[in-house]
């Protein structure tokens, strides 16, 4: 007696020929193809499906669609585990496995429910108030308890086993919602020739109309829907998608739709979800309406459901929510539920209608069926624990004195309907308060506007606030017509579907039931089931001054979490406005933000995961590095060898070996990632003079010069060697990470400021492989390979020459970032690997070893060469680094020149670059600060400098560093202290020295 169960007949969406086995909390259960998890659970008398967030109260299924706040489950296992899945929108499939959430140790017996008994101590704003309590109480008492009990569901532990993808679609008209309004709007719009995309979030077309028993064009809605879909499918200009939710509407006709391709067919090889990125000229939202709960005491006890959901379960899934269902309503629509139950052979002990009288045609029909109709009545209290057992009824106008107790297993409630205005509102569509239906509906005069300032969203049917089938169809036709016209098409004079006009008795807004309910009742009236927000909480928030609806939301948590208040928002703000003695439209709504319901993170990422997450740039020599023990590090999108580890070597040992070998014999560096930008044209020299701090126009053909680039703020942004290739052409080397940025920087100035200068730029970074041959034996190797004269006389330091080496066509630059004899040799990218191999083979007798970026860093630090990103951080000017020699005094102007004359830039107290040599040879931690005399306003020791680069130098066998120090260059020889972290740790003492630690005269590179 009293169980919810499967009816012998009925269930228009079921295929009773195919049973489906599934598992809930370890129990093996059976449903049918066509079931949702929710309908299958109800058919198995599993009404209790979860526990609430705060009080851990038993929670049952309330709704039948996306608005469901309670029936959230952990779905799947391992790599297909996902929490917070709505049972109402989860299609049943063979082997589905779900567990309920928010309980310990079990759904039936949960210790967290103790919160329920101390609810008086956990009012609205509990968390905020607790923060104000003694700190110790928060840390030791409240936080551990809250951490234990907080959270909806559990985070997945395994890597997602599925794949996801993005679709890009361009259409004239996007229609969201495949109910009769969406279908009619699509028919009208498509007839104009416009390209139409129609998406429906569920697996079935038609929306509510079939379950409501609507009649369209004189035939049952179901038949009309089948035909409408068939007609649309035949049209080339129409695309239809089920299981595809309109998730968000954005600027200029952009929209996202979320297609659940394979949720119901897991692991079948298809992508699980597909995110549609749509650009539409016009969007029609035919998103329907959501029924509102009524606020009466005990309205959260399992078995209390929305009246429309009860109707859906009976009509669509052949499920009885219980033998006896009491209907409570403030409008005509819920009578349909009573009639549907009665016609299914179930008992409806009473319809409690809060309106003083019930006179509409549906009420007449209910009475004719023998249902007891009680106007002016409401529910004083629902009796039951994990399941409704009875209701006490009372006069709606009173304070709730019980008149009678009616045993029942289910309560079907209806507080009226709210149009789904989310998509309308996402991009700025405004709402208007409709007194007649007590809901916010889209204001067609204040639609979201597009790039032309014209409205680009129309609404159709119930989403417009229409109530009757006839008006929904009329409105949808008009919306389809208007959208087609606005998209530039001529709508045909139409043959829109029609329905007969219905006589409706007006609804009566009811925000609290009964109207004079005292505090004890209001503390048991749930507004937000998911977050445990009650009427009393919102009233408390209002009393405590949270008058803005946005503040009240955050204070009470009303309308937060996964359902975003789809059921609770309007009721909540109605209670708030009553508490504030204000009108509902004055209080307004909270902001509607996309997505409409949560979408998977996987769908947002699409294919961009794992190897496809980001493009990886590899040099032509990458495979060699990989085969020779390279330990890679990311540099921008590039992967560069940090070092090459040989058998048994640690990374540190490999780096030290590479440094020593390069200084003593011969090193080989893959420098292909270096930025290479060609700047050419009659005004190229003049342009480079503006770009670099020093002079480039007077660089002789065949020569190289190191240059610095600054922003208009005067700060260093890049450096590199420039080579003059011919009269009109320069080649600018940039840092590895800077190539694209600097090329863009050049284009910006050329296109937007000096557009009359004749200059052409080309980023040829990837066109060339560049290999640095470095060390005392460098020349020997090149001479052995032979082909061009690389002697000091023929090719002196800071010059370049074209020629052949070992049969390869090369361009050789005599530049050095190591302080050693060095040739940087460029070959066409396609020859890079072959040339590298030739160098490796030929270099064996000279002790050649490849070296990586860490060795490069140490070599340059030993020489006191700066590195962009180490010595600079976006606030450093060249003068800070002692690079005044690279700043032209002759030029009238260059980018950054004026800024470098600003008072702060010429301040003699700016920290300047020096070398630092630790007294005991230790390595100072990178980024460490030096402290000086005195303390600042916060009681901290004053800082007088910081480390910008710090390494162990194998060459000098000691720690060396560069840093910026207050008046550093004037304090040579002074010892300063760098405190280190950790208990009892001693500061590191370092002497201020010249930053050039090795070969101060620069003799080794110039041989």
């Amino acid at each position: 007696m009293g169980m919810s169960t499967r009816l012998a007949t009925g269930g228009r969406l079921l295929n009773r020929a195919r049973a489906v086995e599934f598992n809930f909390n370890g129990k093996r259960l059976t449903g049918y193809e066509g079931d949702t998890l929710a309908s299958a659970l109800l058919a198995n008398n599993q009404v209790l499906v979860g526990r609430s967030f705060k009080y851990h109260r038993p929670r049952g299924i309330v709704a039948s669609g996306a608005e469901e706040p309670n029936a959230l489950v952990n779905l799947g296992k391992g790599g297909r585990f996902e929490p917070n899945q709505r049972a109402t929108t989860t299609e049943l499939f063979e082997g589905l496995s779900a567990t309920s959430q928010n309980h310990w140790p079990s759904l039936e017996y949960d210790v967290g429910v103790l919160n329920n008994y101390v609810a008086r101590l956990l009012p609205a704003g509990f968390y905020y108030k607790t923060f104000m309590a003694p700190r110790a109480a928060w840390k030791h008492v409240f936080e551990p308890i809250i951490r234990q009990s907080a959270g909806l569901g559990k985070a997945p532990k395994d890597r997602d086993a599925d794949r996801y993808e993005h679709f890009h679609a361009h259409v004239d008209i996007l229609i969201v919602g495949g109910g009769i309004a969406g279908l009619q709007a699509a028919r009208t719009a498509a007839a104009s020739g416009a390209r139409v995309l129609l998406v429906e979030q569920t697996a079935n077309w038609g929306g509510r109309a079939p379950a409501d028993g609507s009649v369209v064009d004189g035939i049952a809605a179901e038949e009309w829907i089948t035909k409408a879909v068939e007609d649309l499918e035949k049209m080339d200009n129409v695309h239809l998608r089920t299981r595809c939710m309109g998730a968000g509407v954005y600027d200029h006709g952009y929209a996202l739709a979320y297609e659940r391709v394979a949720d119901h067919l897991p692991a079948n090889g298809q992508p699980r979800h597909r995110l549609w990125r749509i650009r539409a000229r016009q969007i029609v939202t035919a998103t329907g309406a959501i029924e509102r709960p009524l606020s009466f005491a005990g309205n959260d006890i399992p078995g209390v459901m929305l009246a429309s959901a009860v109707r859906d379960y009976v009509a669509n899934f052949g499920v009885s929510p219980g033998d006896r269902t009491v209907v409570v309503t403030n409008n005509d629509d819920a009578y349909r539920t009573a009639i549907a139950l009665k016609e299914a052979g179930l008992d409806v002990p009473a319809i409690l209608d809060a309106r003083p009288e019930a006179t509409g045609p549906l009420a007449r029909r209910a009475r004719d069926l023998g249902i007891r109709v009680e106007p002016g009545k409401g529910i004083a209290k629902v009796i039951g624990g994990k399941r409704v057992t009875s209701v006490k009824i009372c006069a709606q106008s009173g304070e709730g004195a019980a008149l009678e107790e009616i045993p029942c297993e289910a309560v079907a409630m209806s507080g009226g309907w709210s149009p789904v205005v989310h998509l309308w509102s996402h991009c700025g569509g405004k709402l208007t308060w409709d007194e007649t239906n007590a809901h916010f509906r889209p204001d067609p005069d204040r639609a979201p506007t597009n790039q032309d300032g014209e409205g680009f969203v129309k609404t159709a049917g119930a989403a417009s606030g229409e109530v009757s089938t006839a008006n929904c169809l009329k409105d949808a036709d008009a919306a389809g017509r208007a959208a087609a016209k606005a998209a530039g098409f001529k709508p045909e004079p139409g043959d829109a579907a029609t329905a007969e006009a219905e006589e409706v008795q007006p609804m009566l807004p009811v925000w609290v039931m009964p109207q004079g309910a005292g505090i004890a009742k209001r503390m048991k009236m749930w507004l937000d089931y998911q977050n445990d927000v009650k009427v009393s909480d919102v009233q408390l928030a209002a009393r405590e001054g949270f008058e803005s609806v946005e503040h009240a939301k955050r204070y009470t948590t009303l309308g937060m979490a996964t359902d975003q208040g789809k059921l609770s928002n309007i009721n909540g703000l109605a209670v708030l406005s009553q508490s504030l003695n204000s009108e509902i439209p004055k209080v307004g709504t909270t902001t509607f933000r996309p997505p409409y319901t949560p979408i998977s993170m996987g769908s947002i990422g699409g294919e961009a995961r794992g190897e496809l997450f980001q493009p990886v740039r590899q040099t032509p020599i990458h495979d060699w590095h990989q085969a020779n023990g390279a330990y890679f590090e990311p540099v921008g999108h590039w992967r560069r060898p940090y070092c090459y580890r040989r058998d048994g070597e640690s990374t540190e040992q490999a780096v030290q070996r590479e440094v020593k070998n390069t200084r003593q014999a011969l090193g080989l560096l893959d420098a292909s990632t270096l930025g290479k930008i060609i700047v050419r044209g009659p005004d190229a020299g003049r342009f480079l003079d503006m770009l670099y701090t020093n002079m480039m126009s007077n660089l002789a053909v065949g020569k190289c010069r190191y240059g610095l680039m600054c922003s208009e703020n005067g700060f260093l942004i890049d450096d590199g060697v420039v080579a003059r290739l011919d009269d009109d052409t320069w080649l600018c080397h940039t840092t590895t990470g800077g190539a694209d940025r600097i090329h863009g920087w050049m284009e910006d100035w050329l296109q937007c400021e000096w557009w009359d200068w004749q200059v052409y730029t080309a980023n040829v970074t990837e066109q060339f492989a560049q290999i640095a041959v470095v060390g005392p034996n460098a020349r020997k190797l090149l001479e052995k390979l032979g082909g061009m004269d690389v002697s000091k006389e023929a090719l002196p330091f800071m010059q370049w020459a074209d020629g052949t080496i070992g049969g390869f066509s090369t361009r050789v630059f005599r530049i050095s970032f190591s302080g050693e004899l060095s040739y940087e040799i460029a070959v066409p990218a396609g020859q890079g690997r072959a040339f590298w191999d030739a160098l490796v083979a030929g270099g064996e007798e000279f002790g050649l070893m490849a070296y990586g970026t860490e060795c490069l860093h140490i070599l340059r630090a030993e020489k006191g060469f700066i590195m962009i990103g180490d010595e600079t951080d976006g606030t450093i000017i060249p003068q800070d680094l002692g690079l005044d020699w690279a700043i032209s005094k002759k030029k009238d102007d260059y980018l950054g020149k004026r800024a470098q004359a600003r008072s702060h830039m010429t301040d003699p107290n700016r920290w300047k670059l020096v070398g630092l040599e630790t007294l005991d040879g230790a390595v100072i931690p990178d980024g460490a600060y030096a402290v000086g005399e005195g303390r600042n306003a916060n009681g901290q020791r004053n800082t007088i400098g910081r480390i910008t680069s710090s390494y162990y130098s194998p060459t000098l066998d000691r720690g060396i560093a560069m840093g910026l120090v207050d008046h550093g260059p004037n304090r040579m020889g002074e010892v300063i202290e760098f405190p280190t972290l950790g208990a009892g740790s001693q500061p590191i003492r370092a002497r201020i020295v010249d930053p050039v630690f090795y070969d101060k005269a620069g003799e080794k590179q110039n041989v």
Partner: protein, 107 residues
């Protein structure tokens, strides 16, 4: 997501194809400028509620910079035009005067 027409290649480009470049029609101040004028050039930007002229680069398209006149509140686009100009073209000004009669005009 904004949709802007690139006047160089003619494509209606999604915002993800574009890079924003801040206020348009700045006059570069340099050596010889007073501190105040130079500071204004570096840091002071209009931040209007309404009509705004701004720089965009068709970064993942033709690579060219262009300028757009746009309403920062409604996101209405009054037009895009090549970057090689020191002030909005007449056609843009006319469109603006028609659509925003209270626009203060090009300074």
């Amino acid at each position: 997501m904004l949709l802007l027409n690139c006047p160089c290649c003619g494509v209606d480009a999604d915002e993800t194809e574009l890079a924003a470049g801040g206020e348009a029609h700045l006059k570069r101040e340099t050596v010889g400028a007073e501190d105040e004028a130079f500071e204004a050039y570096l840091f002071m930007r209009d931040n209007p509620r309404g009509v705004h002229f701004e720089r965009w680069r068709h970064a993942y398209g033709c690579g060219k910079w262009f300028l757009a006149a746009r309403d920062t509140v409604t996101l209405e686009v009054f037009g895009t035009y090549p970057a090689q100009t020191k002030k909005p073209p007449k056609a843009i000004e006319n469109a603006l005067k028609k659509k925003r009669p209270d626009w203060k005009g090009w300074a």
